[in-house]
Symmetry: C2
Subunit: 370 residues, 2 copies
DNA sequence: GTTCATTATGATAGCGCTAACATGATGCAG
DNA sequence: CTGCATCATGTTAGCGCTATCATAATGAAC
């Protein structure tokens, strides 16, 4: 038999699909595959004319680079694990969407890992880190756990907190300004004309809770409204706790005309309790939430709330992590960023001016408090 | 300069991290990398002794195969797009978890794509298919859209429906038996002693709605209970529609002692309406839902509902799609399966025996209906 | 036109793995 | 002990892409 191995077969045995390769594009554009690669990756050193030819060829063949090959050849594959303990579905799906999208875009291998917090976590993290995970993306409550953060660092991996209570130093983080958001929401309620505004605190262990409470207090003080302790009730972010807290709040005399809960579940519970007492929302009482979870826009009336850009946050996290990891590999020492992303106050149907009293229409920025 | 290229350098220039490769394992286990590959992939033709040595080496080095390299070399890379339009977060996150996990396990490239249903979808699908996507995983409402299904098939890709109203022929599907689930739930309520059981129908376009209604009717009939049209109200799966429907139902005289809503949002709305009318759930009225979304276990009382194994369903879908795609490539013609996965009736705190009447404790399988 | 710096393109060699084939070891019939 | 099937292992050649270096084309300066 004669040697036929050098005859250029269009498709080798091992080729599978019919997806065009970089070589196909190169052939059509009459250049080397390297040039195609340059065009695809935006290398500036390609003549405009060549670039156009390559672009046309890509278009014609409907070429898309093979990710596996790319990351193999590229060499600096980045592996990030997204660990989560918080089972809130709406939070999680937003988080996933942002992270997946960015990971896909930047050819980053993203592992999604559920884990129960506790003893197991450290084992899991250790295994993952030794298994080649370069970075850990940590949403709450994991990101508020210093032990977890330390463990990740000690394993030489990068920890990145998404939505932590406060930005810590050594690792990176993205978050919103909880204080300012709560301040804004409270100010919004005040601007509506309310003076007796109840507040439901979140789980005390989560630092965000404290910041939100502080924002509420600061807004009242800045508006010259006395902070009444009876109008502040402890909750724990659950619906049940929101029911108990709002029952307490609604029993206070005179009744508050607005209640600002530290998250949407507790706000939803407040609406339910108000309804049971035949109080209309918002004409009898304004109820505002925080987080803009699915609950907020499901119930009726839909809640005015603070929207965290969770999707952007997780996308940001992935991008920032990749940057840091690459820099680390290159030998540079970059200190990871601690970014603050903008929130939005989403106004829906659960807030209104208080019913009885229209005294002091202006924001009342004048007198001192109690 | 002398040729040094054959000197076995431990790390070439292009190696990046320090992750061990198959070659490292082979060296340590004193065999060829091919043998390691065989062990990793479970090829039976490896002597037990060798296998043990390789296993030990893998353990020692903490070796994990490089996915990119694997799928590059393996050749038959499978690319699946998960298209979704339904923005329900809890559904989505479950769906994602299952799909991601399975995709990860089986080295399948999963693309997650949000899309608005309508004109755009066909463009998107066309682009994806021409861009090398082999299969489309379609949750509702996409999977009930025959045009979408047809388009995917016509592009030579595989369509796979997750939770469609009915199993269609040409493409694959996973679903639960909506009829049977609704039948079971209704029977459960009947077994509790209820006779006047209201039902809230889902969106009429979704085929599942019809099946659930049929299940409800059948259970009543089989129990010898007359189906009363006044006790059946149309909803559309939203909270708002659930409120309107349950208000109608609760106004019927004599009042139903139980209401079975076709999904959890409408059931939650029913609870809210009942509470507003100072009806206790479940002592005054039993309320049951369907789907076991996050809402079901958030509100108080937590809802008795039907749990779809969404995670398992999406994992199943990925696995089944991979199988079919591989078979197709191999030239076999497999007709994709239409699987029915088991649901569970999750009993929580929103159901109880009816208050006043304990007549007919037994299921009453006797007399004919109206 | 030569020289050098710059820019544009190409050739080559892998990235880490597995398919396909080749070879070596083993067993068992004759 | 030869012959042949069977099992166990090794060799080789890619998968599709990019890093790296080499080379060719271009322009600016002398």
């Amino acid at each position: 038999m004669t040697d036929a191995s050098h005859i250029p077969t269009t498709r080798s045995t091992r080729r599978q699909g019919n997806a065009p390769t970089i070589a196909d594009v190169a052939r059509l554009a009459d250049c080397s595959s390297m040039t195609v690669s340059r065009v695809v990756n935006g290398d500036p050193n390609v003549r405009e004319k060549t670039r156009a030819r390559v672009r046309a060829a890509i278009e014609e063949l409907n070429y898309a680079p093979n990710r596996a090959a790319r990351s193999l050849a590229g060499g600096d594959q980045i592996r990030i694990a997204l660990l989560f303990d918080n089972p809130s579905a709406s939070y999680l799906s937003e988080l996933l969407m942002g992270a997946l999208e960015e990971a896909n875009r930047s050819d980053i291998h993203l592992m999604v890992q559920s884990c129960e917090i506790g003893v197991e976590v450290s084992q899991l993290i250790t295994n993952l880190a030794r298994g080649g995970i370069n970075g850990f993306m940590l949403p709450p409550p994991l990101c508020d756990d210093q032990a977890v953060l330390d463990l990740v660092s000690s394993l030489g991996a990068l920890a990145f907190a998404v939505g932590p209570g406060r930005a810590a130093g050594s690792h990176g983080s993205v978050m919103i300004d909880d204080f300012k958001a709560a301040y804004d929401m409270t100010s919004h309620i005040i601007a509506l004309g309310h003076r007796r505004i109840g507040f439901i605190i979140g789980k005390p262990e989560q630092i965000a809770s404290v910041n939100r409470l502080k924002g509420y207090r600061a807004a009242l003080e800045d508006a010259g409204i006395a902070v009444v302790d009876d109008l502040i009730a402890q909750g724990s972010f659950t619906y049940r706790s929101g029911m108990a807290a709002s029952e307490r709040l609604l029993a206070v005399e005179p009744r508050p005309t607005a209640i600002f809960a530290s998250n949407d579940d507790m706000a939803a519970a407040t609406v339910a309790v108000a309804h049971r007492q035949h109080l209309d929302v918002p004409s009898d009482i304004t109820v505002c939430g925080f987080d803009d979870t699915e609950m907020a826009s499901t119930i009726w009336p839909e809640l005015t709330t603070i929207r965290q850009p969770i999707r952007d946050m997780s996308a940001y996290a992935v991008k920032a992590m990749a940057q840091v990891i690459r820099a680390k590999r290159a030998g540079d020492t970059v200190s990871p960023e601690n970014a603050i992303l903008p929130y939005t106050l989403v106004r829906r149907d659960s807030d209104a001016a208080p019913a009885l009293t229209l005294r002091s229409v202006q924001p009342a920025n004048t007198a001192g408090g109690a």
